[in-house]
């Protein structure tokens, strides 16, 4: 069907049902939609990080600080081979390789299960919801952030810190693709039992350097 006919039908339908007093588009204050779990509006960066950690842990995410704990976590999970976004080679490749962990900078889809972990940069974090913002600019390979069992997002001085969901949405800009990841992939489809790691990562980690 062409656009004109399609829209004309809808126009005619709306006209047939014109209300004597049309419903106005309400304005709303962000404070109304912001939950009580959000940090105070005047929070400093330390308390925003604190709230983020709390909320992120509440959805079964893990936060770690420093490369040492990252290596320990990976070795502990027997994750000895994975994907590292090329732009993160500088700070991470050397220490990981020295610990016996092997890295690839691209995902070969014929060996998708070879990657036990994927490390990419976080474009931002949202304190209110405990979400990590992933977008095209921060993540050169969508698969690298999704297919491995462990997904580590790197948080550094360049990472935007949003206090609320409203703030993060305000900042979507022209990015063609943005994901707010709030914990590991999960389902409760089988008898309502919570299982993590359905199609996406079973472990969602935030690494702060």
């Amino acid at each position: 069907m062409d656009q004109q006919c399609f829209l004309d039908n809808i126009r005619a339908a709306v006209a047939r049902n014109a209300k004597p007093s049309p419903t106005p588009l309400p304005e709303w204050d962000p404070a109304m939609v912001t939950s009580q779990l959000a940090p105070d509006t005047d929070s400093d960066s330390a308390s925003l990080w604190e709230t983020f950690c709390q909320r992120f842990r509440a959805v079964n995410g893990q936060t770690i600080e420093g490369i040492g704990p990252l290596i320990a976590l990976l070795l502990n999970a027997d994750a000895k081979h994975g994907y590292l976004a090329p732009e993160l080679n500088g700070p991470l490749a050397g220490p990981l390789q020295n610990a016996g962990i092997t890295l690839e900078s691209a995902i070969d889809t014929t060996r998708i299960d070879d990657y036990a972990f994927g490390i990419t940069r976080a474009a931002g974090i949202i304190a209110e919801t405990g979400s990590v913002v992933i977008n095209e600019s921060s993540t050169p390979s969508r698969l690298g952030a999704l297919a491995p069992w462990i997904h580590v997002t790197l948080i550094d001085a360049n990472t935007k810190v949003f206090a609320t969901l409203v703030d993060a949405i305000k900042d979507l800009g022209d990015e063609p693709y943005v994901v707010f990841a709030t914990g590991p992939s999960k389902t409760a489809d089988v008898e309502g039992i919570l299982i993590e790691g359905v199609h996406g990562p079973g472990m969602q980690i935030c690494l702060r350097l």
Binding site: I10, V14, N17, S35, E136, R142
Partner: protein, 471 residues
């Protein structure tokens, strides 16, 4: 038990096991919803009202919002298609696949694709169409129907799923939920990577930016636009919201109302094909806007049902749904939303579904939980009225003829004399009254002793007394 309505008969014959599982899962989701709303907000009700108003405004101005979204989508590099009905939508999707030489499609959960029976259509046309939401995948393997719009397999237990997996060659019998999930992960991973096309629905479309918003907990909608070349979004015209900022309100409400979460695990905002230097993801994006009876609904007295954001909260709270399960509604959309929507979407087949609006006690709970404040009980009543005016037999199955009652109620003298004789009711054995509805009703209930007819006398006395005092 009264079984003249199909839904009653379905509920009667439903196994105790399914009944219990539907009941307990509905109750759990209902409790989680309240917990999440109250943890988040002091006055969650005001958010529902606000969201309802925004959606209502959008519907009343849908043409201009659609035009705006279309303009943005095209500017963002998406190709927009228009489908009057399911047939056109299916043909458009097949056309896109044929043009790209594609035969394999992976599909994330989308109610609207169920509505147009996309899987069957593609399979009949030599294409593979695989459901990737765990629940929908199991439904597809079983050639079954989802029974809930958010949790499609609440009617199945782990043993049934394990048997299906074994039969379909996904491993030896194992009913451990983690094993089931891991096997699906492994199987579907291959399908994601093989598919040339990923099809998703859309939870919301922003008219301001053309942004498609998708939420899933499993990550299937993420994977469906990761390894493939083409992304098709199939979306009903009612999914528009005016501004990007409104998304914050709707996302907060949707996650809490549907699953009791603060935010769904993955919230995706898609604003066109992948970025040029992105390695993975579709370089081609198509958006198919579907009408399929929606403009008819928009024009009539049921318009407000199009505000629905498919959260499933009205199902979870509904005492009829809890007793009968989603399959009792014989359509893609069950529960109170389905009882309103399914007869409308059926078009000429309206009479086939005209009994559904009767499947409600009109307790009003569905309206109270609805995140977009749809007056569901009122819409159910409008359906009943419509069916009555159109003399649709199915709508009055099991309803005793009430002509005599109507005459009685509208003739004061008859009413008065009947009341004076009311006491006789106490001595009539109701079970012997040869009206099936009366027999069914009294099978599980007893009438209290008649106490009516005294008010008129009391009122007369008091008026006399009052006017005496005033003199």
């Amino acid at each position: 038990m009264k079984t003249s309505q199909p839904i009653d008969a379905f509920g009667r014959d439903l196994s105790q096991e399914v009944k219990e599982s539907v009941y307990s899962s509905s109750k759990a989701k209902y409790d989680k919803r309240i917990g999440a709303l109250n943890a988040g907000y002091i006055a969650p009700d005001s958010l529902r009202k606000l969201a309802g108003q925004i959606k209502q405004h959008t519907l009343e101005n849908l043409p201009s919002y659609l035009e705006s979204a279309i303009g943005k989508l095209e500017a963002n590099g998406a190709k927009v298609h228009y489908a009057k009905d399911g047939e056109e939508a299916n043909a458009t999707i097949l056309g896109i696949m044929n043009a790209a030489g594609a035969t394999k499609l992976i599909k994330s959960k989308s109610m609207v694709s169920e509505e147009i029976h996309l899987n069957a259509f593609l399979e009949n046309n030599g294409c593979e169409s695989v459901e990737s939401d765990l629940g929908e995948f199991i439904v597809q393997l079983d050639h079954d129907m989802p029974s809930h719009i958010v949790t499609p397999i609440v009617h199945k237990n782990r043993q049934q799923i394990a048997t299906t997996f074994e039969k379909m060659g996904l491993g030896d019998y194992n009913d451990d939920p983690t094993t089931i999930t891991r096997r699906a992960r492994t199987y579907l991973r291959k399908k994601y990577l093989e598919a040339e096309v990923g099809l998703t629905g859309a939870n919301f479309v922003s008219a301001e930016s053309g942004r498609i918003v998708l939420v899933t907990n499993e990550g299937n909608a993420r994977f469906s636009i990761c390894a493939n070349r083409i992304h098709i979004v199939l979306v009903g015209i009612e999914k528009l919201v005016p501004r990007d900022k409104d998304l914050a309100l709707f996302l907060n409400l949707l996650a809490r109302s549907a699953t009791g979460q603060q935010l769904t695990v993955y919230t995706q905002f898609i604003n066109g094909p992948k970025a040029p230097d992105q390695i993975d993801g579709p370089g081609e994006m198509h958006v198919v806007f579907l009408d399929n009876g929606r403009s008819e609904i928009l024009a009539g007295e049921f318009q407000s049902i199009l505000r629905c954001i498919r959260c499933g909260a009205c199902l979870n709270v509904c005492p009829v749904y809890r007793q009968t399960s989603g399959h009792a509604y014989r359509a893609v959309y069950p529960g109170p939303v389905g009882a309103v929507l399914s007869p409308l979407l059926a078009g000429k087949r309206y009479p086939e579904f005209a009994d559904l609006p009767k499947a409600s006690s009109l307790c009003g709970a569905c309206n109270e939980v609805c995140p977009v404040d749809i007056p569901l009980p009122e819409l159910l009543l409008r359906h009943r009225n419509k069916s009555k005016l159109e003399h649709i037999q199915k709508a009055s199955a099991g309803t005793p003829p009430l002509g005599g009652w109507a005459v009685l109620c509208s003739t004061p003298s008859m009413w008065k004399s009947t009341l004076t004789l009311g006491k006789v009711m106490d001595y009539v054995p109701m079970k012997l009254v040869p009206v099936p509805a009366v027999q069914a009703w009294t099978q599980t209930r007893t009438l209290p002793p008649f106490r009516g007819g005294k008010f008129r006398g009391w009122y007369k006395e008091h008026r006399k007394h009052d006017s005496g005092n005033n003199q």
